[in-house]
Symmetry: C2
Subunit: 175 residues, 2 copies
């Protein structure tokens, strides 16, 4: 599919409600369990999405659209730890919803043209990237974390499903 603001926005707009539907009020054993080691819990994932709204997507749109330097500030993959401190999952979901709504309202207010989509910025690792690629990545980043979340949750039932693991793609099975 070719990227267009019109096919990206509906996905970006839905993600907070997808997360809310999956997680709001759900038991602690689901939202505070991870995949072992220092992997992320559902709480970490939502805190990371909040941190992205604050420091990643729109700030980088502004770098690309601005007249100043084109280098993006590196994204801090540990930034979610400070975000989640002292907050419940429900509070984090509410916060994510408000930030996303504001950020998309701002994006729409910019009336991005096809010419703007070709403008570039400099990613600290990836080098030159376009606004089009940045906005497409915002969408795929949402989907990456829905993908991760479904896997983190499924793994809590690895023992419970018994022999069915072999049919469950999310647990590494073949279907």
């Amino acid at each position: 599919m070719q990227f267009a603001i019109e096919n990206a926005l509906p996905v970006l707009e839905r993600t907070p409600q997808v997360m809310e539907t999956l997680l709001y009020g759900l038991g602690d054993e689901w939202v505070n369990s991870n995949e072992g080691g220092d992997t992320w819990t559902p709480v970490d994932i939502i805190a990371h999405l909040i941190f992205g709204e604050q420091t990643d997507w729109i700030p980088r749109v502004l770098v690309i659209m601005g007249e100043g330097g084109k280098e993006f500030v590196p994204f801090d993959m540990e930034g979610h730890h400070a975000i989640k401190k002292g907050k419940t999952m429900n509070q984090l979901l509410d916060e994510f919803k408000i930030l996303r709504k504001d950020n998309l309202a701002f994006l729409k207010s910019m009336e991005v043209t096809n010419e703007s989509l070709d403008r570039t910025g400099i990613h600290p690792i990836l080098g030159t990237v376009t606004l089009r690629q940045l906005l497409a990545s915002w969408v795929v980043h949402d989907l990456t974390h829905i993908h991760q979340l479904s896997r983190v949750m499924a793994k809590q039932y690895t023992d419970a499903v018994g022999p069915w693991t072999q049919f469950m793609g999310v647990l590494g099975g073949k279907r």
Copy 2:
């Protein structure tokens, strides 16, 4: 996590709304695209979930709880083709929502005890399985298809994200 009806039901109850939030009214380029070859589109996935409500989960609960033979009818992995024929995504989502609601109401009406959870049936490939494993698998099956759906959608933007693929777990990247 130990399986309990109390931690399984909230996930099973949410899946139709999760799918609805992700997909209701979403553009054709998202809901009718697959991962290439004879892989599934989002429409196929929802039709497959409907077919599972009709022929898989509750029918197998009834086999386990009944007094007759214990063998499950094999599940038809192609059964969704007939389900989706002539229907829009929105119609399929509505159908899935109603079937799931009815099936969970029926499950609750059975008042499954810890003893019932140890009862067994015979899966055509997996052999002897318990009711506990069947119900846990219903949950993980939902999560498997949320996992698949996020991947199928993300892949439509593989070219659009450009160099960002390497950071997108859902596209095989390392984050």
